[in-house]
Symmetry: C2
Subunit: 324 residues, 2 copies
């Protein structure tokens, strides 16, 4: 195989860049004049991509479509909403361009993040950690009674990809009763899996409803006022998918009305959430600023997962995390 | 077997009391004139215990020693410090009195509680949940880099009873490298187990040090200034055992000096912790007010576990959670 050119518009520090350079040698890296600000945001267009066989980062769609040499694109994100159009999919298929994402990079951190939400809720950490201010030690008996165990409770997971798969593994020792929902159950989920049509019954019995839906045309406001109403009174709602999948006005109303016991959100619509947004002041609404996928060695993991796929590409094996 | 009399000085509500009464029938419950305020505190002495074959609750030691009919005492707590004296042990052995505790009632909640601490620390929840106030959404990248995964990290568990056993089960999917410490390793711990003499080396490599030591003569200030210094710089310390096992002045100093990255404490010495105690203001020190063992159906679980042991007692089988 002649030397390949890999266009990279993600910004990495020197030590991570060295791992990438060493890992692809003797093949060649090409860079844009200005790299992206973030692994999650689209970078400015740059003609360097036109010389490349492979792209790694967040290139703009127009450049990808014009880059005739390009045979494989690996995104540095798990989400790929802006690439998920009929036009882009058609062009990609026609050209035989393979598109992969980095979902496996973020799956562990996302699964641990939502698990941290579930345990923090069960053990009443937001209240209990405020003991000094709320006189908690005088109310220990009350706080102990408000605390619960996750063991044996019922969970519904909405959207079931690499994060859902890992979450089910993490929850296994808790012997929870887990039901997954995905549009097209494959039978390999390892837990009972229903379609959206059969969701209402599962929601009516769930103690914990975990939303991991990606952002696309079918998922917009999927968690509607109606579906929120179908969830068992006193249940807890979690969102680490995308903010656009939730009717946030209905969520705020549900929290004020006491139907949901709490909501834990890592994603909102829009982001950042404006300072005066009613979600900030809704009762028992806990928000982290889209940090679920983050972890200390994120860049290095991104590069290592890319290199694993690069070896597969070079040897002609199927790529992992393929989305198109 | 003639009818047994069970003295109960724990205060339960009517529905839980009915479970207890139904469960022991046709045997008989006897009550003190005044029951205990808490399942964790000693109740006032009462002569009703002198008619009893079995006691369930927190009777005072003097009454237990004088209650000649008594053959079995089940404590409603996991801790049993005040009963753990050479004199009491000698008297109990001489009389053939069996003493059990309720550690299995609290093991699940305690294990989930410390796990909630570990995940909250890894996912930086105290900072991330404060986003609205600290401008978190402008600092998402920084917060993502500060976040970590538990997967693959090193853990040392100090004291290894029912809580430690359950914690190891819960952590299994995270593939952590776990070392337990107990005075007399039995070989059935399921993880490598060292004695206190061999602890320093394990502490030097640990990312998470979890203290579940009970309160007794050998454990007082076990986590000394010296041992805190042996822990790897940047590690996190957790305590859900007893506050007396830690040199709290040394812990405060370690946090101020930045040697430990954080401390998560459910127990302190004394409790309640005075409002002006330096632990409240030590950096990255997170405190819950002894809520680790609590859970919504605590009283019912206490009674059900007692009834399981009661059936064993009646049928002559060995009792669970035996401590003497």
């Amino acid at each position: 195989m002649p030397n390949l050119r890999i266009f990279c518009n993600a910004e990495f520090n020197d030590s991570v860049l060295k791992i990438l350079r060493d890992g692809i040698a003797p093949h060649e890296l090409v860079f844009p004049q200005r790299s992206g600000e973030s692994i999650l945001k689209v970078a400015p267009a740059d003609p360097a991509i036109f010389q490349a066989d492979i792209a790694f980062g967040q290139p703009d769609i127009e450049s990808v479509l014009k880059a005739e040499r390009l045979r494989w694109l690996q995104l540095t994100s798990a989400g790929f909403t802006r690439y998920d159009t009929p036009e882009f999919r058609a062009a990609v298929t026609a050209r035989g361009l393979v598109v992969t994402n980095s979902s496996s990079v973020f799956a562990e951190a996302c699964a641990e993040h939502v698990f941290s939400f579930m345990l923090a809720q069960a053990r009443q950490l937001p209240m209990a950690l405020s003991s000094r201010w709320v006189g908690g030690w005088d109310r220990t008996s009350q706080m102990r009674r408000a605390s619960t165990c996750l063991e044996g409770r019922r969970v519904v997971i909405l959207g079931f990809g690499s994060i859902g798969t890992r979450l089910v593994e993490l929850l296994a020792p808790l012997r929870m009763q887990i039901i997954a929902m995905r549009r097209r159950p494959r039978g390999d989920e390892g837990v009972p899996t229903v379609t959206p049509e059969a969701l209402a019954r599962a929601l009516a019995e769930a103690d914990h409803v975990i939303n991991i839906l990606p952002d696309n045309a079918a998922s917009t406001r999927f968690i509607s006022k109606e579906r929120l109403g179908q969830i068992k009174r006193g249940a807890v709602f979690y969102n680490i998918g995308r903010g656009t999948t939730v009717d946030q006005d209905a969520l705020v109303a549900s929290l004020h009305g006491g139907h949901l016991a709490a909501a834990w959100l890592d994603v909102t619509d829009p982001e950042p959430l404006p300072e005066d947004h009613p979600l900030w002041t809704a009762p028992h609404c806990f928000i982290t600023p889209h940090t679920a996928g983050g972890h200390r060695n994120e860049s290095e993991t991104l590069v290592r997962r890319f290199l694993e796929n690069f070896q597969r590409f070079v040897s002609g094996s199927p790529l992992r995390d393929r989305i198109m």
